[in-house]
Symmetry: C2
Subunit: 347 residues, 2 copies
């Protein structure tokens, strides 16, 4: 039991501009001017209105104001990522949120779970709330809903994956180039049997990273062996199982390139299960917490997530402000972080 009586939640009527106007003995228009810091109100009136607003605990109703205002801004953007609980996604959201705050904008966040249908629903939900713009990590497969929304004129920036349609900004990482670099790094250490383990093939990032892998092999003069390639691995468990099968081969790989976060973790588990973590080289795409504390430390291609988010937010705010220049496709470089696992030479 508490000594404080339960306030009827949500029951009280919020004071309106009219209430303030009545108390200050001015018109609502004048209150509007004061609240929005617009000129055309005498200093004494301003004081009276401020006092009235203060004493009533008045707070403007942005929903009503944006309905009437000519710019129609809701001071809200939508951010649709794959899974807000994924560290990559949440770091991105945070970076976007920081930039949004600088613009006095709030963020409506959602997880599409890489499902185009769910993504369409979320886009509709955001549109229904008249967000000023959207930052979207496109779900794999078609992007019909995104394209349609974009064609209606909604400012939109795709992040992590580029649009399959025209006229839309995007911010991505050097997926292909960095992957090639990783493979070459492994080849330089003498490795000739380098495996690729990748996420779902429908994802553009997976495709790009695979392309970089193929290019890397070619540049190193190595032949691509299908039996060393495992794709469509969704989640840690699938990756672990797939990695395990690699070591049952007559000629198992001596190095692994894992093209995603969770895939890297799965592969690491498989290596550990066979006590191969100091024998087999490993480079993963995407950094993750504690990668440096493992033994050996995990060499990764680190994306600059804050830069990705910041850039995406800046682009969408530019568009919201009316920028109609040609679409930008920003590419943020990833960095090879050497921690040990990627520096294991061919024995």
């Amino acid at each position: 039991m508490e000594n404080w009586t339960m306030e009827p939640q949500g029951a009280r009527r919020e004071p309106t501009m009219r209430d303030v106007a009545a108390l200050a003995k001015v018109s609502t228009k004048t209150v509007s001017r004061v609240i929005n810091d617009l000129p055309g109100a005498g200093p004494e009136v301003v004081e009276r209105v401020r006092a009235a607003a203060q004493s009533l605990g008045y707070r403007p109703n942005l929903t009503a104001s944006s309905l009437r205002r000519s710019d129609r801004r809701s001071a809200t953007i939508g951010v649709l990522l794959e899974d807000l609980s994924n560290p990559f996604d949440s770091a991105l959201l945070r970076a976007i949120e920081d930039r949004a705050r600088q613009n006095d904008v709030l963020v409506l966040a959602g997880s599409s779970e890489d499902d185009p249908d769910l993504q369409r629903e979320l886009v509709t939900s955001l549109a229904t709330r008249r967000v000023d713009g959207m930052v979207v990590m496109a779900a794999g497969g078609h992007q019909d809903a995104l394209q349609q929304e974009r064609e209606r004129g909604t400012p939109m920036v795709l992040v992590d994956r580029p649009p399959l349609f025209g006229g839309t900004d995007s911010v991505t990482t050097t997926n292909r180039d960095s992957s090639r670099e990783a493979v070459l790094h492994l080849a330089d250490l003498g490795h000739r049997r380098i495996s690729f383990l990748g996420d779902r093939k429908t994802l553009w990032t997976s495709q790009e990273r695979y392309a970089g892998y193929v290019e890397g092999l070619a540049h190193a003069g190595l032949t691509l062996r299908e039996e060393l390639v495992r794709t469509d691995l969704h989640g840690t468990d699938a990756a672990e199982t797939a990695a395990a099968t690699l070591f049952d081969l007559d000629e198992p790989p001596t190095a692994l390139f894992t093209a995603q976060n969770l895939v890297t973790v799965g592969a690491m588990r498989a290596l550990r299960a066979r006590r191969l973590q100091r024998q087999v080289a490993l480079i993963g795409f995407d950094d993750f917490p504690l990668a440096d504390m493992l033994e050996p430390g995990v060499t990764v291609l680190r994306q600059d997530v804050p830069a990705l988010g910041r850039k995406a937010a800046e682009l969408v705010f530019d568009r919201i402000r009316g920028d109609r220049s040609a679409p930008t496709h920003a590419v943020v470089p990833a960095t090879l972080v050497r921690r040990g696992s990627g520096e294991i030479p061919l024995r």
Copy 2:
């Protein structure tokens, strides 16, 4: 260059109910009925309206409808956490989002950075957008802004930390009991010099976990030694430094209880730097990814984050629906997960 001309972003006028009404040759009220699946529209008219809406690409304006509707719902809740990029916070957000989606509600998310002033600003921002309710991880220090908002009647649930004021629901973890359990676990292994390393003292969770530590020592018949206690550690680096000083003592601890995520990581780094990770026992509050892959695996008290988020969301939706029963203070149990580091006996 792209072949698709840049759509004037945000320039197109959204079709309104009036447009649909005109095309379907009915009144706006009838369109409203059809769009909202309300009775009182003939099947043939429904069809005509649907077709008109479809062909115009009409989408209801929730902002306008919520302004006029008697329940005033925006179908949006605010979620204010400390840092959306923190794994604990983002897991919580995701759990809340899932429950929200089941109610066709979207989530406005923000990071308070544990700053009461920033939290106040965010609360105001949310209120200005007329969210239906809020789920808040209260910043340390005073909770004036939260209390004021609550007293205005806004449905609010505090998560992770309880309110310092009455009449408000909360969902927390068994901080004290679980901490005591951890200390007793260490004492059972023979440890007599057990250190406490904690986050900022202003945080309720830190205080509770410290209280549990003190209780645990008492139950085990051990004396509390101030020199083994380090508090106010914010972030990994501070924790690492503090942990290092412990091992410079004449009588260093043989076991550590680290009362937060990042503190645990910092302590681990300090242990590793001195190659003590297999000598000194360690139990941390909060689980974290890869804790099982370290050597030794890290024993932790794991919070049931999805349950915390789910419960918080359910409570806020109950209040939004008008539930005025006495405040609930739900407590979700944490679990001791034994992975090795906490099972190192006194040598």
